[in-house]
C-alpha cells in the first residue's frame, strides 16, 4: 500500500529556507511530505487546504515565520486564524483536526524543521489514511470559500484586539462561541445545498444528514430567501426543493 502523503505549504522566507538548511545539514526525515513553496503562510487559503484533504492528503503542514519575523509583517498572524478556521471545518467533516498543523520555523532552524516533520509524520502515520464522507469534505470546502467564514477568519484578530465598528472587543470565549455557531451553520447549509442536486424534502434531508428537521427547515428557508434553491414540487403534501446552479462564488476553482 502506498504510504500516507503529507502536503506542506512553506513560506519562502522562513520555513522553506529552514527546510533547505535541513538539507544542507543532511538532517534526515521521513519522505512523506510533499512541499509546495508559497511566498507567505498568509497566502494559504483554507479552501486549498481542504481541497488537499478532499483529494486524499493524510495531513497538511503549513510552515511560516515566527511571530514578529514575517517578511510581510503580519502574514503569519492571518495564517494562524485561517488555519484555525480550516481546522474547525475539518472537525465538522469528522476529520481529526490534528491532521492540519501550523508551525513557525525560521530560516536558521533546520533542526527544528526536521524535529517537527518527524513528529508530525509519526502522528499522521498513526492516524493512517484519511477517511471522510465525500459530501462532507466538499461541504467544508464550499463553506471555506463562502464570504461569511472568510470575513471572520480575516477579521478575527481585529475583533479580539481592537473590537468591531462600535469598539466592542470580543473575548476569546465569545469569539469561540461565535465561530463554533457560524462554522457549524455554514457547513450544514453547504451540506444541504450539495444534497439538493436532486429534489429532496426537509424530512429526507434531515434523515440523510442526521440533522434535526427544524434546523434543516431553517436553513432551507434561508437558502430560499437567498435564491440558492427553488421549490421543486409538492409530493404527497410535502414540498421538495432543488438547488439552483451553484453560484460562482461558491464554486471551487477548477
Amino acid at each position: 500500500m502506498a504510504e500516507v502523503k503529507i502536503v506542506g505549504f512553506l513560506c519562502n522566507w522562513c520555513c522553506y529556507a529552514g527546510a533547505d538548511l535541513a538539507g544542507v545539514s543532511r538532517f534526515q526525515y521521513p519522505s512523506n511530505i510533499r512541499i509546495i513553496r508559497v511566498m507567505c503562510s498568509g497566502r494559504v487559503d483554507p479552501v486549498i487546504i481542504l481541497d488537499a484533504f478532499l483529494y486524499g492528503a493524510a495531513g497538511v503542514f503549513v510552515g511560516g515565520c515566527h511571530p514578529g519575523d514575517c517578511h510581510y509583517l503580519q502574514g503569519n498572524y492571518y495564517a494562524e486564524k485561517k488555519i484555525e478556521m480550516a481546522r474547525r471545518l475539518l472537525k465538522e467533516a469528522e476529520v481529526d483536526p490534528k491532521r492540519l498543523r501550523l508551525e513557525w520555523v525560521s530560516a536558521s532552524e533546520g533542526e527544528r524543521f526536521v524535529k517537527i516533520i518527524k513528529e508530525f509524520t509519526d502522528e499522521i502515520k498513526a492516524l493512517g489514511p484519511v477517511t471522510f464522507e465525500k459530501g462532507a469534505m466538499e461541504a467544508a470546502c464550499l463553506a471555506a470559500a463562502d464570504y461569511r467564514l472568510r470575513i471572520l477568519a480575516t477579521k478575527e484578530r481585529e475583533l479580539l484586539e481592537e473590537g468591531n465598528k462600535y469598539g466592542e472587543v470580543f473575548t476569546r470565549h465569545e469569539m469561540d462561541r461565535l465561530l463554533d455557531d457560524l462554522v457549524r451553520e455554514e457547513y450544514e447549509v453547504k451540506r444541504i445545498l450539495l444534497k439538493l442536486n436532486k429534489p429532496m424534502s426537509v424530512k429526507e434531508l434531515s434523515a440523510e444528514l442526521n440533522l434535526k428537521p427544524n434546523i434543516v427547515l431553517r436553513h432551507i428557508l434561508d437558502l430560499k430567501r437567498y435564491e440558492l434553491i427553488d421549490l421543486h414540487e409538492i409530493r404527497d403534501n410535502t414540498p421538495t426543493y432543488i438547488a439552483r446552479e451553484l453560484s460562482e462564488e461558491g464554486e471551487i476553482t477548477e
Partner: protein, 567 residues
C-alpha cells in the same frame, strides 16, 4: 489558454548530490509520461554552462513554452534559470523550479527508493504548476530624484549630507527647533574627549550651508503616501501643512534616554541619569563642593530590569564621565558599579585602562543582585553586592548616576504605521535582514540609520548614516525602479469593494477606489510584494495572486496526492 502547452523538463544529477540517491534516469523516464511534456533530459549539472546551453537549445528545437528544472533550490538558482529562459526569448515567469536536492536527495539519503518516488511526485507537482504558469512582465517606474530624511541628529545629518553630496536634493525633517539631536546635550565624546559642541558645530554648519539640503524645523510627519520612487510626505511645519515629494525616505529619528522613575531612588537631583550629568557638566553648574563620592550604576533599567536588551553605549559613556570627573577632581572618589563592562576593541580598552589609571574604581555585581540605593539620615547609601564575600558593601554617595538604556521615541509607533515598516521586539525599527540587508527596510525605498535602529554610539551612527545614504542613492541615481511582477490582481467583475484586502495589506498596495460600478479594489503593482494574503482573505475570491494562483496551488496540491495525472 488556447496555445498548446509544451513543457521541457531538465533533471539535474548535481554530481552525486542528487544522482547518488535518486534514480535520475527513472525520473526522466517518468517525466516523459506526464502530460504536456515534449522534452525530458538529464544533466550532470543543469546549472553548468553546458546545462544552460542545453536548456536554450531545447527551447529552440522543441519550441518549448514552459521550462521545468528539477535540481537544487529556487532560493539560490531560480534567477539563473529564469535569465537563461529570457536569453532565448522565453518569458522568465514560464519557468518552474522543482527542489529534489535540498528537500529530497539530501534529506532521504538512506532511502533511495522513497527518494526516487518523492522526486517523481515533486516533478509531477512542478509540471502541473508549469502548465498553468502565465507570462508576466516586470514593472518599471520612475524615481523622483530627492530624499526625505526624518530626524536631524548625527546619523540623519550624515545621511542627508551624503545624499546631497551625491547630487540629490534632500529634505531634512526635524521635530525640534534646532538640528543636532541628542548630541546637543552631550559634554564630551569618547574616546577623544573632544567637546561634543565643537564636533557638532562643524556638522551643523555643513548641513546648513549645503545648497541641496532643505531644513524643515519644528516639523512632524503627519502622513506618508506612495511607494519607492514616488513618496509623498505630509508635514506639519510649525502648524502649517506641507507636502513633500521624494523618491526615497531615510528614517533617522533617534532614541531617547529611559527615565528611571521609581528605580534606585531616582529624583533628578542627587540621583540622576548620565544624560543629566552630561548636561550639568556641560553647563558647569554642578556644585562639586559637597561631593566626595560619586557612584555610577550600570544597566539601570536594562538587561531584564525594565527593558530586556543591553544598551551598548552606557559602559563607555560611564567610563568617560567617570574619567573626566576623576581627572578634574582627583579628590573625589568615583565608582562604577557594573555587571559586564563593554569596552570593545583596542581603543576602547585603552580608554578603560586610562580611567582605571586615573583612579576610577570599578565594582562588579551579579545581575541578580543589583545595587540598592537607600537614604539614611539624608545621606545616600548604595549597597553593592560583593560576589566573593557574598555580602552587600554599603558605600556612601553624594551623587548617584544611573546608566540607563536608550529607548525608542514614543512617536516611533505612529511613524512605523505611517511608513508601514516594522518595529522589533524592543520597539526599535527593524531592518529587512540583519546580515543580508542591513539599513534597508523590507519595504522598498525606505532606509534606516542611527539609534532609531537600536542603541549605538556616534561613530556607529555616522557609519550607518553613510550606509543608509549609499543604499538610498541607488534608486535615485538609476532613475527608475524595477519590481517583480509577482503581484496580486483584482477581478473587478467579482469584487464588491468590501475593502478587506486593503485592511490586510501591509504595504498599502491595494485599495478600494470609486468606479462607475461602485467601490472596487485596485492594486498598485510596484508596491505589492506578492505575499498573497489579500488573495486568501478576499471574501469573493476575486483576487488572483500571480505566480501563486489558486489554480496553480490547487494543481500542485492535487498532483501531490493523486498519482494518476489530472490534466
Amino acid at each position: 489558454m488556447t496555445e498548446e502547452i509544451r513543457i521541457g523538463v531538465f533533471i539535474c544529477h548535481c554530481g552525486i548530490n542528487i544522482g547518488g540517491v535518486v534514480d535520475v534516469p527513472a525520473v526522466v523516464e517518468y517525466a516523459s509520461t506526464l502530460p504536456n511534456i515534449v522534452h525530458a533530459e538529464r544533466n550532470l549539472y543543469t546549472c553548468s554552462s553546458e546545462g544552460l546551453e542545453s536548456i536554450k537549445a531545447a527551447i529552440k528545437e522543441h519550441n518549448l513554452n514552459r521550462v521545468t528544472v528539477a535540481s537544487c533550490t529556487p532560493r539560490t538558482h531560480e534567477p539563473l534559470f529564469r535569465a537563461t529562459c529570457k536569453e532565448v526569448g522565453l518569458n522568465p515567469y514560464l519557468f518552474e523550479f522543482v527542489n529534489i536536492r535540498d528537500q529530497c536527495s539530501w534529506v532521504h539519503m538512506h532511502e533511495p527508493e522513497r527518494a526516487t518516488e518523492k522526486a517523481k511526485d515533486l516533478l509531477r507537482m512542478g509540471v502541473a504548476k508549469a502548465a498553468r504558469l502565465e507570462p508576466l512582465e516586470e514593472l518599471t517606474s520612475d524615481v523622483i530624484p530627492s530624499a526625505v530624511v526624518i530626524g536631524a541628529g548625527i546619523s540623519g545629518m550624515t545621511a542627508a549630507l551624503s545624499v546631497a553630496r551625491n547630487g540629490f536634493s534632500v529634505h531634512l525633517i526635524e521635530k525640534e527647533k534646532e538640528i543636532g539631536g541628542m548630541l546637543r546635550n552631550l559634554y564630551r565624546l569618547y574616546p577623544t574627549d573632544e567637546p561634543a559642541e565643537e564636533f557638532l558645530e562643524q556638522r551643523i554648519k555643513a548641513v546648513k550651508e549645503h545648497k541641496r539640503i532643505a531644513l524643515r524645523l519644528s516639523s512632524a510627519v503627519r502622513a506618508v503616501e506612495g511607494y519607492v520612487g514616488k513618496f509623498k510626505v505630509i508635514l506639519d511645519e510649525n502648524g502649517i501643512e506641507k507636502s513633500i515629494d521624494a523618491g526615497v525616505i531615510i528614517v533617522a529619528t533617534g532614541a531617547e534616554e529611559f527615565e528611571p522613575e521609581g528605580l534606585y531612588e531616582y529624583d533628578g537631583e542627587r540621583v540622576i541619569t548620565q544624560l543629566q550629568l552630561e548636561e550639568q557638566l556641560k553647563k558647569g553648574d554642578l556644585n562639586w563642593a559637597g561631593i566626595k563620592n560619586v557612584m555610577m550604576i550600570q544597566c539601570a533599567g536594562a538587561r531584564g530590569e525594565v527593558v530586556g536588551y543591553c544598551s551598548r553605549i552606557c559602559c563607555m559613556n560611564a567610563i568617560k564621565n567617570a574619567k573626566l570627573i576623576k581627572e578634574a577632581h582627583p579628590d573625589i572618589n568615583v565608582f562604577v558599579a557594573h555587571n559586564e563592562l563593554q569596552a570593545y576593541g583596542e581603543v576602547y580598552e585603552l580608554y578603560y585602562r586610562d580611567a582605571k589609571k586615573a583612579g576610577v574604581r570599578f565594582l562588579r555585581f551579579p545581575l541578580e543582585r543589583r545595587p540598592k540605593v537607600r537614604r539614611s539620615d539624608g545621606n545616600l547609601v548604595v549597597d553593592v553586592f560583593h560576589e566573593r564575600m557574598r555580602l552587600d558593601i554599603p558605600l556612601e554617595a553624594d551623587l548617584v548616576v544611573l546608566s540607563v538604556p536608550l529607548v525608542q521615541n514614543p512617536d516611533a509607533t505612529q511613524l512605523s504605521k505611517m511608513l508601514k515598516v516594522p518595529l522589533g521586539q524592543d520597539k526599535f525599527f527593524f531592518e529587512a535582514h540583519v546580515k543580508l540587508r542591513p539599513v534597508d527596510f523590507a519595504t522598498d525605498g525606505i532606509f534606516l540609520c542611527g539609534t532609531a535602529h537600536g542603541p549605538k554610539d556616534i561613530g556607529e551612527s555616522i557609519a550607518q548614516g553613510y550606509a543608509a545614504a549609499s543604499r538610498a542613492t541607488i534608486p535615485l541615481a538609476r532613475g527608475y525602479v524595477h519590481s517583480e511582477p509577482i503581484i496580486s490582481s483584482v477581478n473587478e467583475e467579482l469584487c464588491i469593494g468590501c475593502g478587506i484586502c486593503e485592511s490586510v495589506c501591509p504595504y498599502g498596495a491595494i485599495e478600494v477606489v470609486e468606479t462607475e460600478e461602485g467601490g472596487r479594489a485596485r492594486v498598485t503593482g510596484v508596491r505589492c510584494k506578492g505575499c498573497g494574503t489579500c488573495g486568501s482573505s478576499c471574501i469573493k475570491r476575486a483576487i488572483k495572486m500571480y505566480h501563486f494562483t489558486d489554480e496553480q496551488l490547487i494543481a500542485q496540491e492535487r498532483a501531490a496526492v493523486v498519482t494518476e495525472v489530472i490534466s
